[in-house]
């Protein structure tokens, strides 16, 4: 029975259909708001679905020199990782996440899977641009995973302290983190955690690969790098993965820092959750993206290992000391 529920959660809510719809909606809104900020009209809100329909009708070309199995498996690999991940995201007041399996450490291991899929696909495509994209993606991953780990540790330690009194222990269960915050107030308003929250905001564009950190897929320099040789349905799968990932990282941000609810009734809570995700997205992705150019890879790497890592470390030390 439990397995059945887990599968249902992965396919319908909050993973699968729900996460995909929301992810696509966010992506479209992102493009639209960006266009409005630049005083353009922008594409319709159905654009990601239309792109999907288009990609499904195109032919798939596989390079002769590519490593076929890896090339075909990479998008599926990334998609599966994210589909599982999405089921772990708690929607406060509606659904607790698959709590008996999902905790922060599992999420931390699952989150880099799309990036790895891109790396795998890029190196299997046998194109030199794919190889360049591969090395850039790897550097970016090293750079943004460090602050993420520190943010997660800071949150876990703070909640662990709050839950278990004075004795020192971290709490990695997402369910407990969310419910503790619902009783004692959101961590985003806690002065100790504000540096960590800022670090999370900076982490978002890096992990989503959008401007100014879309260095691995820079279309004007290395013509989309690892995705260069993909087309048709395989590319569509990468887009689905990216939409799911949008949902996952935004939902994780809400769960870690602002999991408050405003009513007893679940539809209101659901809307509230979406609004919070939307706010997070507009703040950290859309606004930044529409106003910046692209960093060089060494600049981005240096930036990530100094600014967000420093901020997250700040929170970590504060939590430890206080």
């Amino acid at each position: 029975m439990d397995t059945l529920f887990a599968v249902l959660h992965m396919c319908i809510f909050p993973g699968g259909v729900f996460a995909l719809t929301l992810g696509f909606f966010f992506k479209a809104l992102d493009r639209r708001v960006e266009a409005r900020l630049q005083r353009r009209v922008g594409p319709p809100l159905s654009q990601p679905w239309l792109d999907m329909a288009k990609l499904l009708t195109k032919e798939t070309l596989i390079p002769k020199t590519a490593c076929r199995p890896a090339f075909l498996l990479a998008p599926i690999f990334g998609f599966t990782g994210m589909a599982v991940c999405a089921a772990f995201i708690p929607v406060p007041g509606v659904f607790d996440g698959l709590f008996n399996m999902g905790d922060l450490l599992v999420l931390f291991y699952l989150l880099p899977i799309p990036a790895m899929a891109i790396m795998l696909g890029g190196s299997a495509s046998s194109s030199p641009f794919g190889a360049v994209g591969f090395s850039r993606e790897m550097l970016m991953m090293l750079a943004y995973e460090t602050p993420l780990l520190m943010i997660l540790l800071a949150v876990a330690m703070l909640v662990g302290k709050g839950l278990h009194g004075g004795d020192w222990g971290a709490e990695f269960s997402l369910l407990k983190i969310v419910s503790w915050q619902q009783h004692t107030g959101s961590l985003g308003f806690n002065p100790v955690m504000i540096p960590a929250f800022l670090a999370y905001l900076i982490f978002l564009p890096g992990t989503m690969g959008v401007l100014p950190f879309d260095i691995p897929e820079a279309e004007t320099e290395i013509i989309e790098g690892p995705l260069l040789e993909y087309g048709g349905p395989l590319l569509a799968l990468f887009q689905v993965t990216s939409a799911l990932k949008t949902f996952v990282v935004l939902g994780l941000g809400v769960a870690l820092f602002f999991p408050g609810t405003i009513s007893e009734w679940w539809p209101v809570n659901l809307l509230w959750f979406m609004l919070k995700c939307l706010g997070l997205m507009l703040l950290s992705l859309t606004l930044v993206k529409s106003a910046t150019g692209r960093f060089r890879i060494d600049q981005a790497f240096r930036f990530y290992v100094t600014v967000p890592t420093g901020l997250a470390l700040c929170s970590l030390i504060l939590v430890w000391v206080i």
Binding site: R39, P43, W49, K54, E59
Partner: protein
């Protein structure tokens, strides 16, 4: 209506554009890359997106008179674009050679090598003309897919 037909009908609302510079003076490229995207003439409202890879392209926009140096490369890149694709020649250069006509290094017009679907004359063409070309290319694409508007 069958699913396949429905997908095809929806698909023309997401044309991804790809630019090939076949030795142009950059005038047309500036028109394509920037002017056609500014507030007044935004191409993104048709669902267009400039893509970096020929593998993702639906509509190719070719600028420039096709010089001897780039001829083989242009043809090769054009071959890499998956079908169905629509080719648009932007500017007078790819149509007749324009100001470079009869130059020693000019291989054009481009229609000698590639079937061109839409011509956009002008040096450089006005943004409205480019937008109209994209819309026209969409309807040609629909014809290629075998669905009615």
């Amino acid at each position: 209506m069958s699913l396949d037909k429905m997908l095809k009908k929806l698909s023309v609302r997401s044309p991804w554009l790809f630019r090939i510079n076949a030795g142009s003076c950059n005038g047309c490229d500036v028109e394509l890359a920037t002017t056609a995207c500014i507030p007044r003439y935004d191409v993104e409202r048709f669902g267009c997106r400039y893509c970096g890879s020929p593998r993702h392209a639906d509509i190719v926009l070719i600028t420039g008179p096709l010089t001897t140096k780039v001829r083989d490369r242009v043809l090769r890149v054009w071959d890499e674009i998956p079908d169905p694709k629509v080719t648009v020649a932007v500017g007078i250069c790819p149509i007749s050679g324009g100001v470079f006509r009869e130059g020693y290094s000019i291989e054009g017009p481009i229609s000698r090598y590639i079937p061109v679907d839409v011509n956009v004359p002008g040096c450089p063409p006005r943004p409205q003309a480019i937008l109209e070309a994209v819309v026209l290319a969409r309807s040609i694409w629909m014809k290629k897919l075998g669905v009615e508007a």
